[in-house]
Symmetry: C2
Subunit: 228 residues, 2 copies
């Protein structure tokens, strides 16, 4: 049974001038053409910006790469679904009967998308400044707990931990080429992962280890971009 959205609004500390936006944000595409996908697209973009700006201010000495990694660690499907569960958002989702039966209200992707859609709805209803303030409120605890050290681990360790957290096979490194004379060799190493798709990229360095780290760093960038 779907609960009335007023309870969720109260938990969120929100009120809408145009409540239709909020209802739409909770409406999964299994309900038909009027659903939350466009609002999710909008919410994803404002969320990315708000967290980027906040991290920029919080960590004046962090590099652009560190800021990107911090953001990816904060804003991803798992963390958004976790936040959605803190507000019991699943109880208020408006799902088609198929999704309802198969437990769609528990699924990470559906919860995460709906939370982003709420952000998009708020943006449309109340503008960027109000929306920004609310996003920062929702993320306040996660921002407090942020660990810059985590983002400073070497790329291979980070990539391995990422694969473990997603319960997929660990990355594989293959030496593909060695060039140059004995005293000045260049190593090329391919890194292969399986996340959304089989992906590989090649890193290079003057040692096999450095080439592996380089390949891992490139792969992290690719994956983090995909998670934006």
């Amino acid at each position: 049974m779907i609960k009335k959205p007023d309870g969720l609004l109260k938990k969120f500390g929100l009120s809408f001038e145009q409540p239709d936006f909020f209802i739409m944000a909770l409406t999964h595409r299994s309900m038909g053409a009027r659903n939350n996908e466009r609002l999710e697209y909008l919410g994803d973009s404002i969320l990315g910006y708000v967290i980027a700006e906040k991290l920029y201010e919080m960590f004046p000495d962090a590099s652009e790469g560190e800021l990107s990694r911090l953001r990816a660690s904060l804003v991803n499907q798992g963390s958004l679904a976790g936040l959605a569960r803190e507000y019991n958002l699943g109880d208020y989702l408006i799902l088609g009967s198929g999704e309802l039966k198969s437990g769609g209200y528990r699924r990470d992707s559906i919860l995460s998308d709906a939370l982003e859609a709420v952000m998009g709805a708020l943006l449309k209803d109340q503008g960027v400044l109000e929306c920004k303030a609310w996003i920062l409120k929702v993320f306040a605890k996660k921002l407090d707990e942020l660990d810059l050290k985590q983002s400073l681990k070497d790329p291979k360790t980070q990539l391995q931990e990422l694969m473990q957290s997603r319960k997929v096979d660990l990355p594989v490194y293959e030496l593909v080429k060695m060039t140059g004379a004995a005293h000045s060799q260049t190593f090329s190493v391919k890194c292969i992962t399986h996340v959304e798709s089989n992906q590989s990229c090649v890193g290079s360095g003057d040692s096999r280890k450095k080439a592996e780290q380089d390949a891992a760093e490139k792969m992290l960038k690719i994956i983090k971009k995909q998670n934006k």
Copy 2:
């Protein structure tokens, strides 16, 4: 010879309360630790949001996928570098001597990053509303020329055109599996591309053609996410 940044400010129609932000936006990492990389990270995020919101308003009937494709067609390294050239931004870049000699002021990546960094600098100097207004001014012509039809082409055509525009090998489709009885077969097709890395993903459908379109659509999503 580097021109004084005042000329560029005039072309941009901007004035900064804290001109140091603007100078930093023009400063490439080849100049050392104080460079535009952090501002570029910030600018990238505000740009993504501003264009997402604008497209959401311009195309009330476009799907989330269509909006994403439209944004990727507007906001990418090539288009940003093109805009930067319209303002002769390259003449004002502050580059280390190595980059200067090798013609860094002409390079797409450096021009594109610097333009995003200017957006980040403006955000810090004048806040989100002013920054948003300026981004929309800079993109006004591109937004006017937008072609929704382009984004409605079928996924295989879109993917092929994307590969052609990037001058990389065309995608390859391989039938990997057929399951089910003769009258209700399911086809699985692997799509392989080479953009940032070798990537493959598998699509499925009740005909080989549909499975190819499905694989192409998945690949487009992966690539577009990487270009955000």
